[in-house]
Amino acid sequence: MDCLVNIFGRLGLESLVLDVPFVCKSWYRAALNPECWRHLDFSKLKLHDSLSYDDFTLRLMSTHQIVGNFPITPFIKSVVKRSGRSATYIALPEYCTEEALLYIADECPALRYLVLPSNFGPGRKFNIQNHISKWTNLQFLRLQTCFQMQEVLAQISIHCKNFVGLANSRVNIGKAEASAIVNFLPNIKALGLRFTCMKKENLVTILQGCKQLERFDARNCIGFDEGDEEILKLASHIRSFKLKGSMLFD
């Protein structure tokens, strides 16, 4: 029954995994439909309890009597498998593994929106740029502290023709990064560069190079002043331009 599938697709992972199938047999059957599993938010899952589990991870652990670390990689893979290659939104947790990412690259050709955890830190060197070619429908990419931005953007410009939005925070947007945004994503519509270090000249490069911008979040940055009139003038065509909390010096 299509109505049930439509509703289930809006419930989120916790309900889909832990509740819906147990209500009754017809709900169980409806939840097998891959269309229920298009929007997959894994971002809150935790690996072990020293990071203090959230409610969802705790419920999973106790329902399935798991001791020790939470099996993040098999869990992600089993859920992605249910989506039957139809997932359009995926948000990954910290401690997501390259193995899970590889599986998603192969099994999610319809992906439009991808949220990645920080790849900064021991054992977390994702090579996102190697997988971009599999996601030809990608429209939005949210990175957190990604340091291989140029390589990632180069791949996006080759493979993702419908790409419109990029977010990356807590990184340095230097001359090379700003030029990469302008050169590889000249038609980008949405940019989120909150909490970045970005000199005014680099912000100006982006504003002058990306004329299709409709939304630009440059709040809490270091390198330019939130009241800079030249910047505001250059950004006057952008429907939503935010730079509150940004300042010249730390």
């Binding site: 199938p21 399935h64 089993s78």
Partner: protein, 166 residues
């Protein structure tokens, strides 16, 4: 009107056309401007293929639910309504108990009105999101038709920790 040829129908009509929708559950009738009713793809297809008589019978939808559907269509047919106005109006329409919402979602599905289907489905989803299945059963008045063995089997299916991958 029902037999009007295609080219005449598309010509700018001097007077406003109306359609009458009739609930086959309680025979209530609603006279609606055509452009309001045509937001239903089902009704549009009937009109386009000349299958619509003076009165369009709507099976399985009560007058109470049909009134809500028409209210939604009227709001969304108003060209001067802002996005905010529509959001507020939609929220008012779906501020109903779960049984009304279920009837409404089935009506939106039958009449093929995408926007109404979305807001109603979202409202139902919000009301059961993250609730334990025992509570969901109660809200929907669903009978548990699992034997304990069957329920255990479904649970085992989700034992992803041991699930193998080819």
């Amino acid at each position: 009107m029902a037999s009007a040829p295609e080219n005449e129908k598309n010509a700018s009509a001097p007077e406003k056309k109306t359609l009458t929708l009739k609930s086959m559950i309680n025979n209530e009738e609603f006279v609606v401007d055509e452009h309001v009713a045509l937001q239903s793809v089902t009704i549009k297809n009937m009109v386009d293929s000349d299958c619509a008589g003076d009165v369009i019978p709507v099976p399985t939808i009560s007058g109470e639910i049909l009134a809500l559907v028409i209210e939604y269509c009227k709001n969304h047919a108003n060209p001067s309504a802002s996005e905010d106005d529509l959001k507020k109006a939609d929220a008012g329409i779906v501020a109903k108990d779960i049984y009304t919402l279920i009837d409404l979602v089935l009506a939106a599905n039958f009449l093929d009105i995408k926007g109404l289907l979305e807001v109603t489905s979202q409202k139902i989803a919000d009301s059961i999101k993250d609730l334990p299945h025992q509570d969901v059963r109660e809200i929907f008045g669903v009978e548990n038709d699992y034997t304990p063995e069957e329920e255990a089997a479904v649970r085992a299916e989700h034992d992803w920790a041991f699930e193998g991958f080819p």
